[in-house]
Symmetry: C2
Amino acid sequence: MDEIEKVLRQHRVRPTAIRLLMYKFLQERKVAVTLNDIESGFDKSDRTTLYRTIKTFEKNGLVHQIDDGTGVAKYALDEPQTARAGNTQNLHLHFHCTSCNETVCLTDHTIPHISLPEGFVTQDVNLVLKGTCDKCSRK
Amino acid sequence: MDEIEKVLRQHRVRPTAIRLLMYKFLQERKVAVTLNDIESGFDKSDRTTLYRTIKTFEKNGLVHQIDDGTGVAKYALDEPQTARAGNTQNLHLHFHCTSCNETVCLTDHTIPHISLPEGFVTQDVNLVLKGTCDKCSRK
DNA sequence: GCAAATAATGCACTTAAGTTGCATTTTTTT
DNA sequence: AAAAAAATGCAACTTAAGTGCATTATTTGC
């Protein structure tokens, strides 16, 4: 717990009770979560607070938002090294399983560079692979 | 107009007045359009009809939906060759300009193959580059 | 340690996009 | 031309996201 508090402080996020709990919650999940997922895990707190908390995390480089094409925003913790470097880009790809609806970060897969026509300047890349994940394809 | 009617029929879409107009509308735009964009172009018709029309187009391989991360679905005509082949995948990438909010298909840029861990089966890929487009970077 | 200032939280409400049900109109089929 | 099928238009609903503001908690200056 003390460790989490330190991480939050490093990112200039005041470690309130809810924030510590949410960070812990995100750590426990291996997959990206929606705001609804978070809500289900916190009976006590209000949706708005949870919404603003995750947005605060995002703004301060603790989590990144993932748009996997389901139409609902998901969030996942930044990798520690990425977070530490203050790197907001998170240039890894995501895999969305259309069977179980889970989305995971494939952080060891970097996104290949793509050269564009003259005048196009790339600042960010979103790459989502869709299909069946390892768990579901084994069934 | 006769040409459009032929294209619709080839995709088993009955060429009603609105459908012909919408196809024409999509042809005139070089960029992907939202349902709102379409609505603005059609005073006469109802939003629901336009919605169902674009969904019919999508289902029958005339257009593909693009999720560029803005949270609003966009649509663009399939390339003729892709459409003819009945290829539903449209494995090209998209560029979203964060300045003018326009999204274009870069149909001549194919998406590089990415090898995934055991058990992951890829069925579809969504690759969106974000940044400044040629028009906006010249300003 | 206490008061003032600042930040976080909770509740109510609003917005926007997507979607569905159903009656009406149009088109197709026989 | 009548019956069947498909398309259209209107109203209403759903869901996720976001905002305003009062209340509560925390931090800062003295």
